[in-house]
Amino acid sequence: MSVRESRIASLVLGASAIIVALAVLAVFAFLFKFALPVFTGGQGACILSGVWNPFKGQFGILPMLAASLCISLSALLIGWPLALGLCCCMHGFTPRPLGRFLSILLRGMTAFPTVVYGFAAIFLLVPVMREALGHGSGLNWATAALILSLVTLPTMTLVMDAGMHQTERRLRLTGAALGLNRQQVFSHLVLPACRSDLLAAAALGFARALGDTLIPLMLAGNAPQWPTAASDSIRTLTAHIGLVLATDSSSATYGSLFVAGCLLLLANMCVQLMLRTHLRTRGAA
């Protein structure tokens, strides 16, 4: 690459980075600008309370924040170990044809629309959950978390796999020359070296689950209450935004959406910052 081409490439890349950063800042600015009047208009304490009852003027969205966090964390707790297991399968713990089949299947799964998972779950999983729990409609925290773990599974697996693939390529010959078989190379060398990829996959999976709207909307039951048990019907912030946007455009209920958006962004930012801090601390240690 000539000096001129290199300079043009730097400019284009720099401009792209600035545009993306500005777009993210614009989203933040937009949300804060519209969320601010909710607080300054005297609704502030009310919006951050624990009761949602618009007919009585109670617009507390904290139960929905808790529901979002609970569903995302439980989807992560189910999906992350599964993703790790699938990666192990694709890296030598099962016969190669099965590993290849899994890889193709997971790549295909990324293209499935989320609504298909939700629709299938209503007919396949919800009746099972209803029977298993013995009460309720089957639309609850557990059902939504199970399907969300399935939705986030390909993303997490492919992020892990990409990191592991590079690391395995780097260490495979060395490990083999030391008399380690493929499974030993993977478990004793590749996995520890891919710690950051495993964490990145968890962060991405969490963010994906936290931001998903359709699955909680279709499967979590949408009752705006504190989550206390896996069989509870709950409403997440994203489902709340979806439901209110469909029916309202000016009331105090509508105002709560901007606060909900801000909380979602902040929750995601906190997770990403925690991850980066952890990785930096590990790198420095």
């Binding site: 010959l173 060395t174 083999a176 020359a177 008399g179 380690l180 078989n181 004793h188 060398l189």
Partner: protein, 273 residues
């Protein structure tokens, strides 16, 4: 599970007294159908250093990797012919039933690569890891071998105080000696070195060479080198390769060629036809 060797098949061993570390007979290697090694027959003496020299692409590294079947880790590789290596007093067919899993063979054959390939763990773990997981040794034996190998490679004085430091914090020369120590700790029956000084400065290269001079008495060594000076300094047996074929073999007791002659032979494309 550690790769133990208790299932050596005695029917495969040869009963004659062993004076050689390895023997190749009519070995041909192909990558994706393209022949890289042509009918190689070669004996590696039980003592001393055998140095493979030749131009880039002449098949030296591929030949080196036939001894521990490392070529099989690369896609599209197929090897034909007979390869026997002396392992713990038995002359074994490396493609025999005892080595269906090539990892069982590789625990007996140490290898050091061109660029220092330390594992992304501490200095201690670099040596400990294959001893624990490939050989299945208990901690007491591991500690003993670790110290012995680091002393043999002349690294003990430099790293004994910081065994828990990441191996990447060592200098290039130290890293290469750590790789050598890692191989020596396995008590190999054969040591393979693929241009071990190619990525090092002249001082570090001399240190490794001095180390090899002492190791030649204890281990049979097969080494690839691009430095003719180094090859002539170290070789007990010098093998000149060209286009995947052995062009010439010299033994030190019969006299090695001088550097200009060797250089001329290397530059001559037609000499092996």
């Amino acid at each position: 599970m550690p790769n133990t060797t208790s299932d050596f098949n005695p029917t495969e061993q040869e009963t004659q007294p062993i004076e050689r570390a390895a023997r190749l007979k009519h070995v041909c290697t192909f990558f994706d159908g393209v022949q890289v090694l042509h009918d190689i027959s070669l004996e590696i003496p039980a003592h001393g250093i055998t140095v493979l020299v030749g131009r880039s692409g002449s098949g030296k590294t591929t030949l080196l990797r036939t001894f521990n079947r490392l070529n099989e880790c690369l896609p599209g590789c197929r090897t034909r012919g007979s390869i026997h290596v002396s392992l713990k007093g038995q002359f074994m067919d490396v493609h025999g039933p005892a080595f269906r899993d090539a990892a069982r063979l590789r625990i007996h054959i140490g290898m050091v690569f061109q660029t220092p390939d330390v594992l992304p763990v501490s200095i201690r773990r670099n040596i400990e890891l294959p001893l624990r997981h490939a050989l299945g040794l208990p901690q007491a034996d591991i500690d003993e071998r670790l110290q012995q190998a680091l002393r043999e490679s002349g690294l003990w004085e430099e790293v004994s105080e910081r065994l828990h430091a990441p191996a990447e914090t060592l200098s290039g020369g130290q890293q290469q000696r750590l790789c050598l120590a890692r191989s020596l700790a396995m008590h190999p029956s054969l040591l393979l070195l693929d241009e071990p000084t190619a990525s090092l400065d002249s001082v570090s290269a001399r240190t490794i060479e001095a180390l090899l001079q002492t190791l030649r008495r204890r281990y049979p060594v097969v080494m690839v080198s691009h430095s003719l000076g180094q090859a002539l300094r170290l070789a007990d047996r010098l093998v000149l390769m060209n286009n995947g074929r052995i062009q010439h073999i010299w033994n030190r007791q019969d006299g090695l060629p001088d550097a200009p002659t060797l250089e001329t032979m290397l530059e001559d494309d037609t000499c092996c036809t």
